[in-house]
Every structure is written in C-alpha cells, then in structure tokens.
C-alpha cells in the first residue's frame, strides 16, 4: 500500500493539515494554529514577553479573548463596582482588557452579551469548527475536540509563541481510540461516561496520547454531551480528546455568528465530511468501555480516577495513597456513599454548565427543596446560556428550590473569584477536578454529573439520581 493510500485517523488528518515544518529527530513540528483562545489568568506574562521582545500579535483575527476565571458571579453592588475577590483579580481583568485593546484582539468584555467560560463561548459563537487546530492556555481546551477539532491546552510561554507566530512547537503524540460500546442506560450522561472511562484507564492512562472517542454511545451524544466527554480527556492525562464530526456537529454549528455562511458553508461541509477516521486507521492503543454498564458516577478520592457508582459503597483503601485520600475525604470504607452528608453543591464549569446540563439539574430540582443547611450554586457557562435558561424559567426552578442563580464564570470550579467552600465542606460539584483544596482550602470535592449533583442537593447526602428522575414519585414527599 502506498503511503498516500494508508488509512488515516481523524487525528492524523488534522495533524497533517497543519504541519508548517515537519518534525525531525532534532526538532518538534511547527504546527499552525487556526484559533487561539485567551483568558485573563494565563496570558499576562505572555503579553509581557511580547512587549519585552518588541513583537506584535501575528494574527489577531485568529485570536479570541474572554473573561471568566477571576470574574465575580455576583452583580455589581450599590456603588456600581463588581465584587472582585481581590485587587489582584480586578487588575488581571484590566490587564487583559488593555492587552486586547493594544493588540487589536476581540475581547468578550464584562458587558458583552456573548461573554462566558472560554470553552463554552468558542462553540457557542461558531468559532469552534471541525478540522481546526485550537489552543488555549488552559488544559480543558480538549473540550473543543468534540467538534472534530485538534484542540489542546498549552502553557503561558506557548501562549506567547502563538501570539507572536500563530504556531506551536509540538511532537506528534501517540493515538488512542476509546470505544464506548452499547447504549447508555436512562439517566446516565456524558459526565458518567467520562468518570467511568477515567476510572477504567487511570488519571494517567491517556498520558502522551491524542484520544478519539468513538462507538454508538458517543455517536448518540448531543454536542453538549460530547463536549463534556472531551473536556474530561485531560483528567485521564490526555491533552487531546476528540469525536468525529457528523450531522449532529453540523447542525450545532449551522447559523452561528462565526460559522461559515452560504457557499462557504457548503465548502466547509464537504471538507468536514472527509475528516472522520478512515476504516482501518491504526491507533497505538485501543480501549473498550462497556457503556451499557455505566451507572451515575461520583468520585470518592482526590484524583478523578477514584470514581464509582453513586449508589455504591466506598471501597476499602489498598495503598498508602488511597488511605490518605480516604482520610481526607472522610469516606468510611465499605459503607454506602449514601451515608455521606453534603454541605454544598456546585452546578457549573466548562464541563457541565450548558443549557442541557442546567435542564438536567432543573428536572431534578423542580418542585423540590434543597436540603436544610446546604448551599447550592448554579452558575451558567455563559451569558447566552443564562439568557436561554431564564427564557425557559430554569432560574425560577433553581431559585424556588432554594439554590442560588449566578452570573457566568468559572466560579467554584477553580475557586479563584471568591466563590468557594469552607474548610471541611463536602462539595458535590459538576466540575472536573477533585484535587485537595481545588474548591477552597480543606474542601472535599465529589465530582458528579448535573442530575446527580442536583439530587444530592435535595437529599442532603450522596445519592444516585435515578429516584429523582422517575416522575413524581419522590417529589415533594
């Protein structure tokens, strides 16, 4: 077989199409970047480097900035000032505003009706498209792979490289396909798939790989579900997670502000349809996950691979590390997770803050009350999500149940804007990291999908959400 006829994977095709200078033993490839997403936390030092070296931004037209990490989720006070957590946070926001103005970069500013979390707004605007290379100084950039894009997180030095040259230096990673076989059970979602997958392959199972998620259960996912799954690829150690583009993808993109229009749309469709992996394309590693066996999942440790069905029991720790994690999390070995009392619930983050996530949570919370003493925070991923949710009354559902309805941002996912738990709190969170202290010093984080998190808020303890999704039986009892 000639090399030209060799079956190529989606990843191979994306890689090949963006190589400016091929990789050699001495040097990594120089890879062209179609879309560079920028936010306030990982960019200031990169802009400073540009200044130091007297360089301009090469392609402001391929760069999109937003504000999300340090921004408050509470509205401005009576004095008209936003309640920033610290002066430094406010300064960081100002700094990005200045940097974008100086370099001609489009910024979704604080008052922009399109502002939101970087990985939520890229797709919403139609900027995230199949076939693109996308980078951001943020590890969850893998989210955009849901569209059949090659998207990965980079460090701040590389942010500087991309600003100055629109390119990054990269060695081609190995490739892995993860096949989700069978159909998901009702009430099981993309977050549960992600957690089950990470539990199976480990928090470093994807290290060094670009992962393609495939199989019937992935094809059946909505775009929002696919984004949730690809978002979590990095929690398995993989910088890249992707799904082949199909009609679901095209339907999502069509008509969005920055999507190709008219003839350009037809041409794009033709290109995009050629992207999925060829039959027989080789992968360095193949993994199968039994999708039908997946239950609503939670994490019980301090690494995302410590995941198990919410309706199950805490495992008996086997290693020193597991014992330490169990001590920190205060799970009692071999006792049902249901015995764990919850203090806070966070529904939000680039993993689970889109409209379908909020609907899922609202379905559980509608007509029910958040358990006494529990703080539940619902934070939409973007202004667009906020408007859409409010248009269908989801904000009312949350508020009536006793939850808080906030302004868009990263919020308690990274807890650097002032939204955080208190030491010792058990927080059930729809975000992506259960690391020690991630949501505030001494906070114990349990990761879950939106329905599970909502059910935990109502029950006041860890529960499988199934009972709350089955009609009215358990409602307002």
């Amino acid at each position: 077989m000639t090399d030209a006829a060799r079956p190529r994977s989606l990843f191979d095709k994306l890689w090949d199409a963006h190589v400016v200078v091929p990789e050699s033993e001495d040097s990594p490839a120089i890879l062209f970047i179609d879309l560079h997403l920028v936010h306030e936390v990982t960019s200031p030092q990169a802009f400073a480097m540009l200044e130091e070296r007297g360089l301009a931004v090469r392609r402001p037209d391929c760069t999109q900035a937003t504000l999300d990490h340090s921004t408050p989720t509470l509205p401005a006070g009576a004095d008209g000032r936003l309640p920033y957590a610290t002066e430094a946070a406010e300064k960081q926001v100002r700094q990005l505003e200045e940097n974008c103005a100086r370099h001609g970069i489009d910024l979704l500013g604080l008052d922009d009706p399109r502002r939101g979390i970087v990985h939520v707004v890229g797709p919403e605007l139609g900027l995230t498209q199949p076939g693109k290379t996308i980078v951001c100084g943020d590890s969850h950039t893998s989210t955009h792979g849901a569209f059949g894009a090659l998207a990965f997180g980079i460090g701040t030095t590389e942010v500087g490289h991309v600003l100055a040259t629109q390119c990054v230096l990269q060695r081609k990673p190995k490739s892995m396909r993860i096949d989700f076989e069978g159909e998901l059970a009702p009430g099981v979602g993309a977050k549960d798939m992600a957690l089950a997958m990470i539990a199976q392959i480990g928090a470093d199972g994807g290290q060094g790989y670009a992962v393609e998620f495939a199989g019937p259960a992935v094809e059946a996912l909505s775009m929002e579900g696919r984004m949730t799954l690809c978002n979590m690829a990095i929690e398995a150690g993989a910088r890249v997670g992707m799904v082949a583009p199909d009609q679901t993808t095209f339907d999502y993109i069509e008509g969005r502000e920055r999507a190709p229009q008219g003839e350009a749309w037809d041409a794009a469709l033709e290109r995009w349809r050629a992207l999925p992996s060829d039959p027989g394309a080789a992968f360095d590693r193949e993994v199968r996950v039994d999708a039908a066996a997946i239950r609503p999942m939670i994490t019980f440790g301090v690494s995302p691979d410590a995941a198990a069905p919410a309706g199950g029991r805490a495992p008996i720790p086997a290693t020193a590390g597991e014992r330490e994690a169990a001590d920190y999390m205060r799970f009692i070995p071999d006792r049902p997770f249901a015995e764990m009392a919850v203090n806070r619930v966070f529904i939000g983050s680039c993993t689970n803050s889109r409209l379908s996530d909020l609907r899922e949570a609202a379905e559980v919370m509608r007509g029910r009350q958040v358990a006494k003493g529990i703080t539940a925070l619902v934070v939409p991923g973007s202004e667009a999500v906020r408007r859409a949710a409010e248009a269908e009354g989801l904000d009312t559902v949350f508020l009536e149940s006793g939850a808080e309805w906030r302004l868009p941002g990263c919020s308690m996912c990274i807890a650097m804007n002032g939204d955080q738990g208190a030491p010792g709190d058990l927080v059930v969170s729809t975000s992506n990291r259960n690391f020690v202290g991630r949501q505030g010093k001494g906070v114990r984080t349990v990761l879950a999908g939106p329905a599970t998190a909502a059910a935990c808020a109502i029950a006041g303890r860890i529960v499988d959400p199934s009972d709350y999704l089955n009609g009215e039986a358990a409602r307002a009892a």
Binding site: T42, G153, I154, T156, G321, M416
Partner: protein, 192 residues
Amino acid sequence: MQPEPFTRLEAYSLVLPQSNIDTDQIIPARFLTTTSREGLGKGAFYDWRYTGDDVPKNATPFPVEGAGERKILVAGANFGCGSSREHAPWALLDYGFRAVISSDIADIFKSNALKNGLLPVEIDRTTHAKLMEQPGIRIVIDLERCLIETEHGLRAEFAVEPFARRCLLDGVDPLGHILAQESAIAAFEDAR
C-alpha cells in the same frame, strides 16, 4: 526571558512520595491572580507548608526559607497532573528547585518545566522507588549524558525531548526557532 542554561546539577533531594501531585497542590489557584511571574515561590506547595495565615506547619519536608541545597524534588508517579498553569514550574523554580524526578510526569507540566529551565527527569520505576526511600541524598543530574547518579551508586538514564535538551544545554531560544521559519509560516498561510 531565557531560562538559565542547564548542563549538570549536583544537589540534595527532597522527597514527596505521593502519586498524582497535581498543579493545584504545587500552586493553589488563589495565587494565580498575579500578572507577573516573580515571587511565586511563596505559594509553592503553600497548603503543604503552612497551616493558613502563613503559619508554617511542623510536619513538612519543606524548609521555610526555600529549597536551599535540596534543589531536586523527587516525587511520586504522575507528577504535575491537572492544569496547564505555567505558574507551577515558576513557583517551584522561585522556591529553589531546579529539577523534578519521577517515574512519570504529566505532559503539559513537563513541557512548561522544560521551557523554564526546571528539568523534568523521568526514570525507571525501580530506581525511582529507591530514590523515594532515601530522602536528602546527594544526586548528580547530567543533562549532557542524560544520566542521574547518587552518592550511593544508584544510576539511571533518562530521556529528554532532544529539542528541549538543546534549548537547555546550548541556550537555543524556541521562539527564535519558530520566528526563523517566518517564510514557511507565511507560505502556509497563503496556501490556505
């Protein structure tokens, strides 16, 4: 800003045997609101070093004043997993570390560390396990030969991405390397 060249490092080890030490441990998010990269050493492993309110913990392997001669961090598997924050290597360097040894180091952290002159050293599990049992020993890291040796005769080879190695040994500037390909980049853009 170019990192300091790195050829050979002789220093003592500080051991953190935990696996999956993530970037939120290395530098908690509340230290990320900075717009510079100076002074992050204060936040390095902050919650491991302080009880809060800047009161140093008693039971911590970390010297209060900085790494001193213990410039080599030996840590459990999957070190540096989590976020892409380059603040993590900045903080470790500012605290005084120059190298991290583990059996495997997370991709983005590794790439960030190399760009800043913090050498990520991945070695075989057996030697790694032995190093973890001997905190405070003297270790020589030789980047020319890609070899580590301890005062007790342990030896292990390690691999470093060749370009990053050249950058560290010879002071090659990665951005300069890309900028030198300006005509190729322009041609690529024109061809689309």
